[in-house]
């Protein structure tokens, strides 16, 4: 089996599965958020923050953010590995991407549990 030390699961098959599982979570979360916004025309702060105060919504959102982190890394790793051939530039780009994903994840957790 072909392994690579920089991808998420150290094997293409593992990354393939992670990408599919995270895609399904993200698809469900997207449908939920878009559906919620579409069917709440006069949405106010109390209702919106009330939604995100629910434990199930925080769990669903955190699951989506973690899935997003994995999904973004597998996807952007693939894209950067395909198009950025010079090793130095690729490693630099991938490092920035990992840092950005980490920032988004911590930011997301902070939004969910309030600062």
């Amino acid at each position: 089996m072909v392994t690579n030390i920089t991808n998420l699961g150290r094997s293409g098959l593992s990354d393939w599965l992670v990408q599919r599982a995270s895609a399904i979570v993200l698809a469900l979360y997207t449908l939920f958020i878009v559906g919620y916004l579409l069917f709440s025309p006069g949405l106010d702060y109390a209702t919106w923050s009330g939604l995100f105060a629910q434990t199930w919504m925080r769990i669903f959102s955190l699951l989506a953010f973690v899935s997003l982190s994995a999904h973004a890394w597998v996807g952007l790793w693939t894209v950067t590995t395909d198009y950025l051939k010079p090793t130095g530039i690729r490693i630099a780009a991938q490092s920035i991407i990992i840092l950005a994903i980490f920032v988004f994840l911590v930011w997301g957790i902070q939004v969910l549990w309030g600062a």
Partner: protein, 140 residues
Amino acid sequence: MPKCPAAGQESVYRAVNSKRPVNLDLSTIQFPLPALTSIVHRITGVILFIGLIFGFWALDASLSSAEGFASVQDALAHNFLAKLIAWGLLSALAFHFVAGIKHLLMDIDIGVTLEGGVKKAQITVAVSAVLIILAGVWVW
């Protein structure tokens, strides 16, 4: 030059290594539709990642306080640039979503033929075009 494995394969070996004309000028190559939807899937993925800055900003602001919620609402209602970004990101999301569903269908062996690939690429373009227009209607 590595040694040729067997005498009978020498002609094949020479043909493969011959200096045949190679065209790598992408601007002269007509890409089939599935190739185009594939690259757009990648491009929209990169756009969505960059767009997360706006998504998390809007989520953070809208949940921080009633004033923050009002500022996000106001930006999406009156700020042209905010509307444009929202529409752009919704469009990228729509395409990425539909193309992703196409991938999942292929994973369960639906339409994994040359004709099926072209047809699914056409459906991907058509469905996302409709969703992009609907997203524009939603934003404006």
